[in-house]
Structures are given as structure tokens and as C-alpha cells.
């Protein structure tokens, strides 16, 4: 065994560990093995959530200590004597050497979005076991490796972006494909997360008022920061937080008011239109007025809630009510169609491996690293922490009674349009639930109904409220539920406004080659036109999801998962190419193994989404079934299914192009004379 340091007999950065180190790590290994065994083998009786916490904690600690350090020392040969871009190019702005733990927190705040929270909740339809094992293994062997290697590569290339590295290391085709892939993913991502918000707020005056109130609060914060107390961001965010909490209480009053409740009770379509308008306004208004204050507030609330959830789970140590495996591993699940392989592995993307992280790892972070060795905790460690967040989300979903979980997450099109039909269907699956029980739960959290709330956010909020209320009394269940809804909606809307703006810039960048004025970010007609185009693109998919009788999330989330993991495929292609060019071909299995796994998973999932003969899985099969039914209104659904099939096919073709291009480059390097880096 080796520890960090320097020695002559061991590879650089490694030295023999003392006996105590051996004993400690042996104990962690034994505890991790027991916990994993308990999680994997326990059947029948509910198990305590601490087993999941222990299994993840011990595996992540071992992964960081041994695999991460192995990659750092043997493969990357991180060297603190080598000046980082932050030191060499220091400019007080982008390039600035930053304390390791501060940068760790900043990087983690940047990579942690709604994905690791919502994905595990949806994948819980297979039971807690498949998702948990995938999060643990995927984060250690895939996600953390991708984030770390891309961060390292960007750090050694003066902070270059993934697109620039793809262009330089693989070729112009790779760079262009990466850019188009990112733009398409942005469109699908905005639509998917917007649908999560729509389904969480539909028919909920309390939630709608609270989330609507965050907008004037953000504008007030923007004006406060700009004109009243310039530079006082923390002070301003604290005021914003107090106002948002006040808005949650205000929302309760609104929901009980005969005059105001109907005003804030919106249908799915109404909410979708409101969010589309918000995305357009957010993309065109000055950033300081709306986006930036929301962004600051969202970051602090996000980190606070994650800490609160961790503390709540440790304090309450709830038992898991969901079984380890459900019958829906066979592909007949009500939340989304498809078997546990490959769909569990694309439903949970961000908690295990997320291509989007590679954009962050090749963005701000590499420009701020003080020492090369810091790339290990920041790149590898942050992803493990995100994996931990995903495990917490899985726990939050699993503490609910399975019948309640399925009643909340199943669409009316699958379980029946009335509460009576839904409980009968869900109970017939072996997950007993009653309409009266659901009504009582809805009343306890201040909602009219909790049936058919697809998208994951309401059930996550219920799970979180259950945990928080367990620590602080059930009287506050309604407050905690709406606090969780506000938290999810706040940072999802932050993602939407920022994403629309970024998409607009990317579109302007592309269109600038066709017409110069369109490329100018200050030309108002260009700004309005490209913002409208971007909003129309994701708005169409959102609208399609809202109108989908099967809930929409069953279509959009797999599409998002596939696209996100295909971006990870591009990132791992870049990382593998760089390893080969660094004369580390013997270690290419480190990035090659998760790459191969992702290729198998995403291409299988993509193929099934297009061509599966099962209508609930394959887009074309569903279109054919609708075509045969020839009922009113099916023409639009048929068109949507075909469009989704085309989008999925485009993703697969784009990534196959990068993959084949990479294989060509690898073969060329491995056959011919090697270049140094």
C-alpha cells in the first residue's frame, strides 16, 4: 500500500503506508463490504437507510484513497512543482490560484443540479437496489474518472474547454459535433426540467405562489445589489432567503384564500406558457436584474438544503419502505417504460456519470487550481460527493410507502384517470394504497391531490419533508414539503434562464457565420430572434410533454439521460485520446472502461427508444399504435413520437461520429510514431 508523498523507491507521489493506515483502511473495507452486502442481499423486511449511507461512504472513501490517488500518481503524474494556469496566467479574474477547499465547494456547487436529485427518484421504480449500486459504482469508476481526467486535461491546456480540446485532440469534426451535441442537450434539458416544475406546481396555489414570488424577490435583490448596497452579495442573499421563506408562509395563506387560490391554481398548459415566457424574458433582460441574484440565492439554498438533508438522514435514520427490487425491472414500470438494463443507467445520469460535468471541469475550475495535486479532491472528490447526494435522493424516495410513491409518480394514462382507479391498479401490483390515505397526505402537505404528479419533484419533496418533519415534528410537514418544492423549482428555473441564454449565445455564434449581425450579442433583433428560437425549441418539447397522456416525463427524461450520457461518451473519447497521446496507452482502460460501458448502455437505450416494438418504450412503435387507433388528436402525438425518434437518432449519429473519429485517431497514434504532450 502507498500513501501520498514522495519517495525514490515508489512511483512519484506514493510511499508505503504505516501499519495503522493498513488497519484503518482494512476496517473501512470490511465495513463497506458488510454494508454493501446488507444493501444487496437483504430481502423482505425494510432495511435502515444507514446501510446505504455506509455502503456509499465507505466505497467512496476507498475509491478516492486508492483509485483516485492511483490515477493521480501513476497515470497523470500530478506534480506540484509544475506551475498551474492559475499561477502562470494570473489576472485577478478568471485565472486566480484558489484555496483547495473553497474551489472544491465552488466546483461542487457548479456540478450539483436537479439531475442527481430527480434521476434516483424516478429510477426507484425498479426498487432502491439497482439505482444505488449504479450510483456507487458509476461515480467511483465512471463519473469521478471523467470529471477528474477532463479537469486534468484542461488544467494542462491553460483551461481549454471540452469543445476546444475535442477539436485539437480528435479533429475539427469532433469539435463541431461536440458543440452541436451540447446545443441539442440544452434544448432537451430545458424542456425536461421545466416539465418537472410544471408537474410539481400544477393545481397547487401554494407552490405556484411561492415560486412566482421568487421572481420579484430576485428583481428586488438585483436592484438592491446594483444601486443600494453594491457588492454586498451575501447580505443581499440573506435578505432574499428571508423573503423566500416568508413567501412559503404567504403561499399557505394564498392556498387558503377563496379569492387568491383560483388565481394561483394553474393548469399544466398555463404553467408551461408561464415558464416559456419566463425563459424568454430571462434570456433577454440584463443579467444583473434577474439571473444573477436568482443564481446566487439558488446556490446558497442548494448547498444549505443538501447539508440539511444529510443532517436529517443522519438524525432520523429512516427505514426504507420501498423493496430492493420491484416487479418493474421487467420493463413494465408505470413511471417510464423499459427494462432495468439499460434504462436504470440512463435515468440516473448526474449521480453516477454526467457529460455535463465535463463542461464545468473544462470551464472555470481548471483556471483556479492552485496546485496540480488539488485536481484530485476537486475533480474526483466533488463527483463522489454528488454521488452521495444521489444516494440521499434515493433514500428520500425510498422512505415513502411504495403505494404512495407509485400513486404520486404514475401518470393517469397508465394507472387510471380517477383516484379510485389509480389506487385499484397500484394495489393490484402489490403496493397497497388507499384514496383516503392519499387525500389525508395531500391535506397534511397543503395540496388538493398528490395523484399523477409525475416528474419526481413532488415525491422527492414528500420524502424530504418526511425526513425533515421526522427531525422536527409532523406539524411542519406542509412547510417542509413546500420548502422542498421551492428549493427544487428555484434552482431548476435558474437552470432554465441561464440555459436559454447560453443556448442563445451558441445559436448566435453559429448563425454569425451565415449573417454577421446575427452573431453580434448586442444587436437587439438578433438577441430577440435567437432567444425566441431557443425558447421555441425547448418550449415545443415542454408543451409536448405537458400534453402527453402518459405524463411526458416517460419520454423526455430518457431522452435527456441518453443525451447527457452521450456527452459523457464524447468527454471520455477526448480523455482517452489525451491519455494515449501522453504515452499512457497502457492505462487507457481507466477511461476506456466507462466509455465502453456508456457506449453499450446509451446505444442500447437509444436503439430501444427508437425501434423497440413495445409501444411504451419505442417511439416508432407508439406512433404505429396511435396510427392504428386513428382517434381524434392522435396526429400531433404521432408527429411528436416521430420527432423524438429523429432527435434520439441524431444524438446517436453525432456521437457515433465522434467515437469513430476517435478510434481512427487512436489507431493512428498507436501504429505510428508517438508525440509528446
Amino acid at each position: 500500500m502507498w500513501t501520498e508523498g514522495s519517495g525514490t523507491e515508489a512511483p512519484r507521489g506514493l510511499k508505503p503506508a504505516p501499519l495503522l493506515g493498513w488497519l484503518v483502511w482494512a476496517a473501512v473495507s470490511a465495513l463497506g463490504a458488510v454494508a454493501l452486502g446488507a444493501v444487496a442481499l437483504h430481502r423482505g423486511e425494510p432495511i435502515n437507510s444507514m446501510w446505504l449511507v455506509l455502503a456509499a461512504g465507505c466505497t467512496f472513501a476507498l475509491g478516492f484513497r486508492f483509485y483516485g490517488k492511483f490515477i493521480a500518481a501513476r497515470v497523470m503524474a500530478l506534480d506540484d512543482r509544475r506551475a498551474t494556469p492559475a499561477e502562470r496566467l494570473r489576472d485577478g479574474h478568471d485565472f486566480e490560484p484558489t484555496n483547495k477547499w473553497i474551489l472544491f465547494g465552488q466546483h461542487f456547487a457548479a456540478i450539483a443540479g436537479p439531475g442527481p436529485l430527480v434521476g434516483p427518484v424516478l429510477a426507484a421504480q425498479f426498487g432502491y437496489l439497482p439505482g444505488t449500486l449504479w450510483i456507487i459504482a458509476g461515480a467511483v469508476l465512471g463519473g469521478a474518472v471523467q470529471d477528474f481526467t477532463i479537469l486534468f486535461a484542461s488544467m494542462r491546456r491553460d483551461g481549454k474547454s471540452l469543445g476546444e480540446m475535442a477539436r485539437e485532440e480528435i479533429g475539427r469534426l469532433g469539435g463541431f459535433t461536440a458543440m452541436v451535441t451540447v446545443l441539442l442537450i440544452l434544448i432537451i434539458l430545458q424542456a425536461t426540467v421545466a416539465l418537472v416544475v410544471v408537474n410539481a406546481l400544477k393545481g397547487s396555489p401554494w407552490g405556484t405562489f411561492t415560486v412566482a414570488a421568487t421572481m420579484p424577490i430576485a428583481v428586488f435583490m438585483g436592484l438592491y445589489l446594483r444601486h443600494m448596497r453594491p457588492g454586498k452579495v451575501l447580505e443581499c442573499s440573506l435578505i432574499g432567503f428571508v423573503l423566500v421563506v416568508a413567501a412559503i408562509f404567504g403561499g399557505q395563506a394564498v392556498s387558503q384564500s377563496a379569492a387568491l387560490a383560483p388565481v394561483f391554481t394553474l393548469t399544466g398548459t398555463g404553467l408551461a406558457v408561464a415558464i416559456i415566457l419566463y425563459g424568454f424574458v430571462g434570456s433577454t433582460l440584463p443579467v444583473w436584474l434577474l439571473l444573477a441574484p436568482r443564481g446566487y440565492l439558488s446556490t446558497f439554498v442548494k448547498l444549505g438544503v443538501i447539508l440539511l438533508l444529510a443532517a436529517g438522514i443522519l438524525a432520523v435514520r429512516p427505514g426504507l419502505q420501498l423493496p430492493a427490487l420491484t416487479r418493474f425491472t421487467d420493463g413494465t414500470g408505470p413511471i417510464f417504460g423499459g427494462k432495468v438494463f439499460p434504462f436504470c443507467f440512463i435515468t440516473i445520469a448526474c449521480g453516477a456519470i454526467s457529460g455535463f460535468h465535463s463542461l464545468i471541469s473544462s470551464g472555470t475550475t481548471p483556471k483556479m487550481i492552485e496546485r496540480e495535486s488539488h485536481a484530485l479532491p476537486i475533480g474526483y472528490g466533488s463527483m463522489l460527493l454528488e454521488g452521495f447526494v444521489a444516494v440521499m435522493a434515493m433514500i428520500a424516495a425510498s422512505v415513502m410507502q411504495p403505494g404512495v410513491y407509485f400513486a404520486v409518480n404514475s401518470p393517469a394514462g397508465v394507472v387510471g384517470a380517477t383516484p379510485a382507479a389509480a389506487v385499484a391498479t397500484i394495489s393490484s401490483w402489490g403496493f397497497p394504497v388507499t384514496a383516503a390515505g392519499m387525500e389525508s397526505l395531500a391535506r397534511a402537505v397543503g395540496e388538493r391531490t398528490l395523484f399523477f404528479r409525475t416528474g419526481g419533484a413532488p415525491s422527492l419533496a414528500l420524502g424530504m419533508a418526511h425526513i425533515f418533519a421526522g427531525a422536527g415534528g409532523r406539524a411542519f410537514l406542509g412547510f417542509w414539503y413546500h420548502f422542498a418544492i421551492m428549493f427544487e423549482a428555484l434552482f431548476i428555473l435558474t437552470l432554465i434562464d441561464a440555459g436559454t441564454r447560453v443556448g442563445r449565445f451558441m445559436l448566435q455564434d453559429m448563425l454569425g457565420h451565415v449573417s454577421k449581425p446575427l452573431g453580434r450579442t448586442g444587436w437587439i433583433p438578433g438577441v430577440i430572434g435567437t432567444s425566441a428560437a431557443m425558447v421555441a425549441a425547448w418550449g415545443y418539447f415542454l408543451y409536448q410533454g405537458v400534453r402527453d397522456p402518459l405524463g411526458g416525463i416517460n419520454t423526455l427524461w430518457p431522452l435527456f439521460g441518453i443525451s447527457n450520457q452521450l456527452l459523457a461518451t464524447v468527454a471520455l473519447c477526448v480523455a482517452t485520446t489525451i491519455l494515449i497521446k501522453m504515452h499512457r496507452a497502457r492505462y487507457m482502460w481507466i477511461t476506456g472502461t466507462p466509455l465502453a460501458w456508456l457506449v453499450v448502455v446509451t446505444f442500447t437505450a437509444g436503439w430501444q427508444k427508437i425501434f423497440s416494438p413495445v409501444a411504451r418504450v419505442g417511439f416508432l412503435a407508439q406512433a404505429a399504435q396511435l396510427n392504428a387507433a386513428q382517434s381524434a388528436g392522435t396526429r400531433r402525438l404521432i408527429f411528436n413520437d416521430r420527432l423524438d425518434a429523429v432527435v434520439c437518432g441524431v444524438f446517436l449519429v453525432l456521437v457515433a461520429t465522434v467515437l469513430l473519429d476517435s478510434l481512427r485517431v487512436w489507431a493512428g497514434i498507436l501504429r505510428g510514431p508517438r508525440e509528446g504532450v
Binding site: 486566480e96 443540479g113 440544452l186 452579495v233 443579467v287 444573477a292 443564481g295 441564454r501
Partner: protein
Amino acid sequence: MKRLKEAGALLMALLRELADESAYRRHLAAHGRAHSAAEWRRFSDERLRARYTRPKCC
């Protein structure tokens, strides 16, 4: 107690970094300027322009 204070200081430093307050201080020091409303707006505009051209993570 000392450890606790150190942890608190680190947490505050992280919050200031996330809030761009530390970056603003560095900006003032690097350019030898004093804090003013106009200076904050100049710094903030430049920083936000760069930040909001990059996609946020999902």
C-alpha cells in the same frame, strides 16, 4: 475551539467566493482601485457576462 474557528473561517471564505465578493476584492487589489458603486457594476457586468455564456450543470 481553534479547529471550529478555522472551519467557520473556511465556510465564510467559501460563501464569499460563491458570492463573488472575494473575486471583487481581488479585482480591486489587482487594479489598485477603491470600492465604489460604479466599480462594482463594472466588475459585476464583466464577470456575469462571462458566467452566463457557459452552460449550467444539470
